[in-house]
């Protein structure tokens, strides 16, 4: 009975940790490349986030199941092989059902393989914990990543085109900041957002 009562809060904490306290983008600074590259607009950012959730959950399940068979020196290799298999599935799926989005994301879909978040979760969580904890952790981290991507993309899309989700929201006099859709905008927006998060959490921690 005691295990049942303690398991619930722990799972909840694992889930919440991915959303804010250990948010992969804002707190752990992992997975920077896709974060910066696909956030010119909300739609590709959301597609990227969902693909990452899929890959993260699947690879965490597999790694968790085979965690007792892993040899230490071959660990990373096994992780990357597992991940690249699922990324291939996600890539083929996107190419078949979302050809326009697949074209737009280009090589950044296969680059999910080297997204540090996934390897980090496989190493830090799935290779040490059971199936349920690993799945909850993957979902929490994945949603945290997607949210961070969408916030960044929302700011950039709003300022660079005056639109969100391709619907106009800014008044007519608004002059779009073209620089926000370029690499410059990505770096500076993320820098300022991180600064904001630091300021918000400084008092608490």
């Amino acid at each position: 009975m005691t295990t049942k009562t303690t398991e619930g809060p722990i799972l909840g904490q694992t889930f919440i940790a991915g959303l804010w306290r250990e948010n992969p983008v804002f707190r752990l600074l992992l997975g920077m490349c896709p974060t910066l590259a696909v956030t010119a607009a909300v739609k590709p950012a959301l597609t990227m986030g969902l693909s990452v959730i899929f890959v993260l959950v699947c690879s965490n399940i597999v790694v968790s199941l085979m965690r007792n068979l892993l040899k230490p020196h071959l660990r990373i290799l096994m992780f990357t092989l597992t991940i690249s298999t699922f990324v291939t599935i996600a890539d083929l799926f996107l190419r078949a059902f979302q050809p326009v989005m697949s074209e737009r994301l280009g090589p950044y879909v296969p680059l999910i393989i080297v997204n540090c978040i996934i390897i980090c979760r496989a190493e830090a969580c799935a290779s040490k914990n059971g199936l349920v904890v690993s799945i909850v952790d993957a979902v929490g981290m994945g949603i945290g990543f997607t949210l961070a991507l969408c916030v960044l993309a929302g700011v950039r899309e709003l300022l660079s085109t005056g639109m969100i989700f391709e619907a106009k929201v800014m008044p007519a006099w608004f002059v779009p900041w073209a620089a926000m859709s370029m690499p410059v905008g990505a770096f500076i927006t993320l820098g300022l957002l991180l600064g904001l998060v630091n300021k918000l959490t400084k008092g608490k921690s």
Binding site: C33, L77, I113, V114
Partner: protein
Amino acid sequence: MDTLNILLVGFISIVIVNNLVFTKFLGICPYLGVSGRIDMAFGMGMAVTFVVTLSGTLTWLIDHLILMKMGLEVTRYVCFILVIAGAVQLVEMYIRKFFPSLYESFGIFLPLITTNCAILGLCLFINLWGIDNLLEAVVLSFGAGIGFTMAICIMAGIRENLNMADVPESLKGAPITLITAGLLTLAFMGFAGMIR
């Protein structure tokens, strides 16, 4: 003469105009993580240059001689990552044997070269751009490594000076590094459109 011209233009383009760090956001993790001191940044750049040249060449050969001939393009990502992991293992063993102090200071970042997006990214871009000439693939891979080294060394130089600057409390650390990177990118945007 003509091929030499193409190679030269390709090299300059990948080092300056289409620099992987500044325009494609590849290799950002070590770019932010290891750029604290200039000597470490240079060592990292050299290691990445070696791995990227080796794996760029090998993946081109595997892609063209095996995968395309046998219709196994589906397994492309799995093969690429295997080649890269092998190359990184090689570099790791070499550095541990001959430069033990450098090996110590790299720590976790050395095996993490495997997950450096710049390397897999370049292999994918070579495939995407349809490079059908081995020599061009080698030059492009080497150029990508040099471009990465240049970017990370510039960044390390700036950050060494940034230590003495008065930065607002909440922007210390990663945020100010990202903003600096943004301004650096702005400078490199001046080269955009110069070649291709």
